[in-house]
C-alpha cells in the first residue's frame, strides 16, 4: 500500500483556481462514495478549506491511483486537468505523512499556527469515516496527526500569538482607523468563520456588531451572541451605511457586493472610509471595489501577503515544531512499513501451524491409546518446536524491517514457503479500524 497526498493550496494555486476546486461540505459524502468506486484507491478522504483542496488516499498501485484521482477531481469540478495540473502537488510515502502532520499542526497554514485547520481536518476525517471511505492506514495516520498537532500546540509557542485571518484583519483595521473603539462591524453571513473573526474584532474593542444573513434567524442568533443587531438581508445597504468594517463569508457562488453598489454607498456615506474583509471562497465582493476611494478590500490571498510580512517571528517556533513532526513521521513510517512485513509473518506462522497440525494428527492417529496428558505433551512439544524455529527469523524480520534488504527477504520467504496468495486473504483483517490505536487523540 502507498500513501498519497494530492492537492493544491494557497501557496501553489491562486484563489481563482481554489474557489473552483473547493468542495461544499454537504457534497463531500457523496463525492467520497463515488471515489470509493475507483478500483485503484483503497482509502480516501477529502480536505477542502478556503486555502486548500487535498485528497489523502491509500492505494495499491500508486501511479494508477494518482491518474485516477486527478481525473476524478477534474471530472467532478467540470474543469479540464490542464487548467489546474500545474498547481497540484503530489506527495507519497514519508513525504505524504509529513505533509499531513504539518497541515494538522498548522505549520502549512496561511497563518502559521492558526487553530482552525485542526477542526477542519477532524471534520473531514469524520466525513470519511461516515462514508466508510477510510481504513486502517488513514485511521492510524489521522489519529497520529491529531496527536502531533496537540504536541506541537503544547510543546511550542506557535499558537501563542493568536494569529489567524482575524488577527491580521485587526492589524489592518488599526492601520486604517487607528483604534477600533468606536467602530461598527457588519458581518455578512452567520457562519463559523465570521463568528470567529467577529470575536477577535470585539476583543480588539469594536463598539457594535451588525449581522446580516440570508436566513434572518441565524443572523438574529449570532447578533444576540455579540449583543449586536441583526439586519434583514434585503436591507444590507443600511448596514453598509453604518459600518466601518465589513466582513463577508457567505457561501454565495457569485459576487454579493459589486463595484457600482459600493460606489453609491460611499457617496451616501460622505466618503467615510470602509474596510472590507472578504474571507469567502468563492469571493463575495467584486475585487474592483478596492479601486474606489476610501475603500480597502482584502480577500484571503491579500491577507496572506500581510501574513508573510509577519511570519519571521514564528519561524523559529515552526522550526522547533518541524523537528517534532519529524519524530512522529519516523514513528508512523516505522509502523507503516510493518504493514508489508506483518502479512508475511502472519502467513509464515499460518503455514508452519498447518504443517504442525497435519503431522501431529497423523502421529496421533497411529497411537490411539495415548492418554489425554500425553496428547497434551505432544501438542506442547510441537508448538514449542515451531515457535523456536520461527523465533529467529521473525525477530530478524521485525528488526531489519525498513532496511533496503527487507523486500528481498520477504520475497525469498514468500517464494520458499509458497506464501504468495496470503496477503490478500489477510486484507479483511486490516480493514477493521484498530480500536486500540484510536485512544491516542
Amino acid at each position: 500500500m502507498e500513501l498519497i497526498v494530492i492537492g493544491l493550496n494557497h501557496k501553489t494555486a491562486p484563489i481563482e483556481i481554489r474557489e473552483r476546486l473547493a468542495f461544499q461540505e454537504s457534497e463531500i459524502g457523496t463525492v467520497l462514495s463515488e471515489a470509493k468506486s475507483l478500483a485503484s484507491v483503497k482509502e480516501g478522504m477529502i480536505l477542502s478549506t478556503c486555502n486548500r483542496v487535498e485528497i489523502f488516499a491509500a492505494a495499491r498501485e500508486a501511479e494508477k491511483a494518482v491518474q485516477d484521482l486527478k481525473g476524478f477531481l477534474a471530472r467532478h469540478r467540470g474543469l479540464s486537468l490542464m487548467e489546474f495540473e500545474k498547481n497540484l502537488y503530489l506527495l507519497m510515502g514519508e513525504e505524504a505523512v509529513r505533509h499531513v502532520f504539518r497541515v494538522a499542526s498548522s505549520l502549512d497554514s496561511m497563518v502559521v499556527g492558526e487553530p482552525q485547520i485542526l477542526g477542519q481536518i477532524k471534520s473531514a476525517y469524520n466525513m470519511s469515516v461516515e462514508s466508510k471511505a477510510s481504513g486502517l492506514i488513514l485511521h492510524k495516520l489521522l489519529h497520529q496527526a491529531f496527536h502531533v498537532a496537540k504536541r506541537v500546540r503544547t510543546e511550542t509557542k506557535i499558537g501563542n500569538n493568536a494569529v489567524s485571518v482575524s488577527f491580521v484583519a485587526v492589524e489592518l483595521a488599526k492601520k486604517i482607523f487607528e483604534n477600533l473603539s468606536r467602530k461598527i462591524v457588519l458581518l455578512i453571513g452567520a457562519g463559523e468563520m465570521c463568528e470567529l473573526a467577529a470575536r477577535h474584532l470585539v476583543s480588539a474593542g469594536v463598539e457594535k456588531v451588525l449581522v446580516t444573513n440570508r436566513t434572518y434567524d441565524r443572523a438574529a442568533a449570532l447578533a444576540q451572541e455579540f449583543k449586536g443587531e441583526p439586519i434583514p438581508f434585503e436591507e444590507m445597504n443600511q448596514g453598509l451605511m453604518r459600518a466601518d468594517i465589513v466582513m463577508s463569508s457567505t457561501g454565495s457562488p457569485e459576487y454579493l457586493l459589486r463595484h457600482d453598489q459600493i460606489a453609491r454607498v460611499m457617496k451616501d456615506r460622505k466618503q467615510k472610509p470602509i474596510f472590507f474583509i472578504d474571507i469567502a471562497v468563492p469571493r463575495d465582493i467584486e475585487p474592483t471595489v478596492n479601486d474606489i476611494e476610501n475603500v480597502y478590500l482584502y480577500d484571503l490571498d491579500d491577507l496572506q501577503e500581510v501574513v508573510n510580512a509577519n511570519i519571521q517571528d514564528r519561524e523559529k517556533e515552526a522550526r522547533k515544531a518541524d523537528a517534532l513532526v519529524q519524530d512522529e513521521v519516523v514513528k508512523f513510517v516505522n509502523w507503516y512499513k510493518t504493514l508489508d512485513v506483518t502479512p508475511t509473518i502472519v502467513a509464515l506462522r499460518k503455514r508452519f501451524e498447518e504443517i504442525r497440525r497435519k503431522e501431529l494428527e497423523k502421529t496421533l492417529s497411529l497411537h490411539p491409546t495415548l492418554s489425554v496428558k500425553e496428547r497434551q505433551s505432544m501438542e506442547a512439544l510441537t508448538s514449542a518446536i515451531v515457535n523456536k524455529i520461527l523465533h529467529g527469523p521473525l525477530t530478524f524480520l521485525k528488526r531489519t524491517n525498513g532496511d533496503m534488504t527487507t523486500d528481498l527477504f520477504l520475497d525469498a520467504l514468500q517464494t520458499l514457503f509458497g506464501l504468495e496468495a496470503v496477503e490478500f486473504e489477510e486484507e479483511k483483517d486490516f480493514q477493521k479500524p484498530p480500536l486500540s490505536s484510536e485512544g491516542e487523540d
Binding site: K174, I176, F177, E178, Q271, N294
Partner: protein, 273 residues
C-alpha cells in the same frame, strides 16, 4: 552674535534630521527621543537668535529673504514640537525637519546684515501680518507632510504591501485628521494674514489692495484652501483627495513665498535680498 545662534540652530536641525532618519529606519525609540531633544535644543537656539535680532534691529526681523526663511523654518519647527506634544506621531519629524533644514541652509547662503526698515513698513500691523502669514504657512507645511505620508500609506494599503514602509507610517486616520486640523487652523491664519496685510497696506500705501504678484498669489492660495475646506465639509473630500490638495496647496504657498519674490517683481519685492 545672533548669526552664531542661527548657525548653531542649523547644526542642531541637521543632527535632528539625521537622528529622525535613523529612527525611521531602525525604529529604535532612543533615536526618536534623541531627535526630539536635539531639535528642541536647536529651536531654543533659533528662538534666541530671533530675539537678539529683534532687539538689535528694533523691529520684527522679517524684512529680507534670509530673515523670512529663518522665520519660516522657526515656525515650522515650532509647529512640529506642538503637534508632537499632542499627537506623538514620531515619524513626523523625519519628514518636517528636513524641510526646515533646507530653508536654514538656503538662508545661510544669503546676506545677513540687518538693513534699516523702510519707513513705509514701520507699522503696528507689520508683526501681526508676518506672524499670521508664516504660522499659516508652517501649518500648511505640516499638512503637506501629512499629505505625502497619507499618499504613501494609502498606496501601501491599497496595493496590499504591508511591509516595512506601512509599519513605519501612522494610520490613515491620524494623517487625515492632522490634515483636517491643519486646514482648520491654517486657513483662518492665512485669512488673517491677508486681512492684516491689507490693513497694513492701507496705512503704508493708502490702498488696501494693489494686485501686486504677492497679493494675487496669496489670494489664489486662499481660494484654493477655501475650496479644499468647502469640498471637505460638503462632499466629504477626505483621504486621498484631501492629501493631494494639501500637497498642491503647499506648492502654491511655496510659490507665493519664494517664486513671486524671485520671479515676479512687485511691491513686496523689497523683501528680496
Amino acid at each position: 552674535m545672533n548669526i552664531h545662534f542661527f548657525q548653531f540652530a542649523s547644526l542642531f536641525y541637521l543632527l535632528g534630521t539625521l537622528a529622525s532618519l535613523v529612527y525611521i529606519i531602525s525604529l529604535k525609540e532612543t533615536f526618536s527621543k534623541l531627535a526630539a531633544v536635539v531639535i528642541s535644543t536647536g529651536f531654543a537656539s533659533h528662538t534666541l537668535a530671533l530675539l537678539m535680532r529683534y532687539v538689535e534691529a528694533g523691529h520684527t526681523p522679517v524684512t529680507n529673504l534670509y530673515e523670512s526663511l529663518s522665520f519660516f523654518a522657526w515656525m515650522i519647527i515650532g509647529v512640529l514640537l506642538i503637534v508632537n506634544l499632542k499627537y506623538r506621531v514620531k515619524v513626523l519629524s523625519s519628514f518636517i525637519t528636513p524641510i526646515a533644514l533646507i530653508m536654514m541652509i538656503f538662508a545661510l547662503a544669503l546676506p545677513k546684515e540687518i538693513l534699516p526698515l523702510a519707513p513705509v513698513l514701520k507699522s503696528f500691523w507689520h508683526p501681526f501680518h508676518i506672524i499670521f502669514a508664516f504660522l499659516g504657512n508652517a501649518i500648511f507645511t505640516l499638512a503637506f507632510c501629512c499629505g505625502v505620508m497619507y499618499l504613501i500609506q494609502e498606496h501601501q494599503l491599497k496595493s496590499k504591501k504591508m511591509g516595512a514602509i506601512a509599519k513605519r507610517l501612522p494610520p490613515l486616520k491620524v494623517l487625515d485628521d492632522l490634515n483636517y486640523q491643519s486646514l482648520t487652523f491654517g486657513f483662518p491664519l492665512l485669512t488673517l494674514g491677508i486681512i492684516t496685510g491689507a490693513i497694513w497696506a492701507e496705512y503704508a500705501w493708502g490702498r488696501y489692495w494693489s494686485w501686486d504678484p504677492k497679493e494675487t498669489w496669496s489670494l489664489i492660495t486662499w481660494f484654493f484652501y477655501a475650496a479644499m475646506l468647502h469640498q471637505r465639509l460638503t462632499l466629504g473630500w477626505r483621504g486621498r483627495k484631501a492629501a493631494t490638495m494639501a500637497i498642491i496647496g503647499f506648492l502654491a504657498v511655496l510659490f507665493t513665498f519664494l517664486g513671486v519674490n524671485l520671479l515676479l517683481p512687485g511691491l513686496h519685492s523689497y523683501a528680496n535680498w
